[in-house]
Symmetry: C2
Subunit: 237 residues, 2 copies
DNA sequence: ACAAAAGTGTTGCTCGTACACCCATGG
DNA sequence: CCATGGGTGTACGAGCAACACTTTTGT
């Protein structure tokens, strides 16, 4: 490292790590990698790297995703920064964690092999190196609470999808079952879905209408909340 | 900087910045500092510093608060990390922002003078250096959404307080007025307040009971949420 | 025709909101 | 004795949960 003008003696490396969530229209999964370098070579880990001097944090995370999957414009959100002194055994590394949401079917299979990577079901996540396990836990919590407030999750579905598929996604995020009738009514009432003329007949004889996410609907809603809508669930979590 | 083992050419400084919110039983305020060093000397800014090699991020933020105020155990939360390449004009600095909640009356006045610091009302916040203005905006948003889920804000009140004072705090966080009767009922229904025998007579003839926050009440509540309690306000914000 | 998934309707209940009303007391 | 803030009660409505019910169509 070159000397630092403000504080020459500072000697801390900085990395970006990515938690990658994927959905295959059935289960929510996590992408993990076998570490290729010492120390801890061969253990499961998130993907990450020490950043370049002239690339922003956000861009570094995007670049990791792009090189890995070939995908651009994926959903990517900064999660938290991990700064314990001894989190890496070799030297001090501060890591900024990001998480992303990806459709598994869009992901290049060859790329998985090249990177020695594998999709894991949530109940089968192995031990991860360093504090990567903590990062994953934090990311799942953050994802769950994000979905409460943002019409998120559409990144994980194909452009056209049935209400049923959307429900399956939400169920796998929350690990719980919703009532089909109520789920449908709630989602439709939000006025963020657009029904198309097409039907999907793969899972029923009657066929289910395919919907599409209304892009323009985001942000145009007035945040018309009453008093306690704001401080409602003060005690939860 | 000494050379970095994993990636010797990396040359990025790392800092912690603190957004300090204070409450004087009437208004929510922000503590700002006149920058003492070039570049941008004399402009208003948050307080922060390049961290030590052997101090964690969380501890660095705590230390800043402690040296400034003499207070320990203040509420402190990591907000976000700012990593644009050119955010600092002199060299690349990545900054991890924290925000904290403090009672203004506990704050050492002499310390304010020593640091050339001043409490600002929210509607009178001046332009800040670098991306500190963005940090403050992000912190306010985060504070508002945190208060929704955590019995937070008690850090900002004296040990004994009236429901009225609690309401004033929430009103200044949300910049809105709540119905006194409903606010009272809601807060009491949460079972996190303990009524004491004492009364505060400074603002009425009848006198208002002083309450105290039940410390043991946190976390013991079952997160018993129904289906849509989870995905309820999908569209807000 | 019937099984099975798609989709609709109905009812009870909880809880936020609005607002009327009682209580205590110092001047 | 009345003005003022503290504190309680009630009625209405919105929205979630549970579940019964109708629709469609391939076999």
């Amino acid at each position: 490292m070159a000397a630092n003008k403000y504080r020459p003696e500072q000697s801390i490396a900085i990395a970006v790590d990515c938690i990658i969530f994927g959905f295959d229209s059935k289960d929510l999964k996590l992408l993990l990698f076998r570490r290729k370098t010492e120390p801890l070579k061969g253990s499961w880990s998130l993907i990450g790297e020490l950043i370049d001097n002239d690339i922003s944090l956000d861009q570094s995370a995007k670049d990791i995703l792009y090189r890995l999957s070939g995908l651009e414009n994926v959903f990517l959100k900064q999660l938290k920064t991990y700064g314990q002194v001894d989190r890496d055994p070799l030297e001090r590394v501060i890591s900024v964690a990001y998480y992303s949401l990806i459709r598994i079917d869009e992901f290049n299979l060859q790329s998985l092999e090249n990177h020695d990577a594998k999709w894991f079901d949530f109940d089968q996540i192995p031990d991860l190196i360093l504090d990567h396990g903590q990062m994953v836990d934090d990311a799942i919590k953050s994802l769950r609470s994000s979905v409460r407030y943002n019409p998120l999750g559409f990144e994980l579905l194909p452009e056209y999808f049935t209400i049923q598929q959307l429900q399956t996604l939400y169920e796998s995020i929350y690990r719980t079952a919703f009532d089909p009738g109520n789920f449908r009514k709630k989602m439709l009432s939000l006025d963020i879905l657009e029904r198309t003329a097409k039907k999907d007949k793969t899972s029923s004889k009657k066929g289910a209408f395919l919907y599409r996410f209304k892009k323009d609907s985001v942000k145009q809603f007035p945040t018309q909340t009453g008093d306690f809508e704001r401080i409602k669930e003060v005690i939860k979590f």
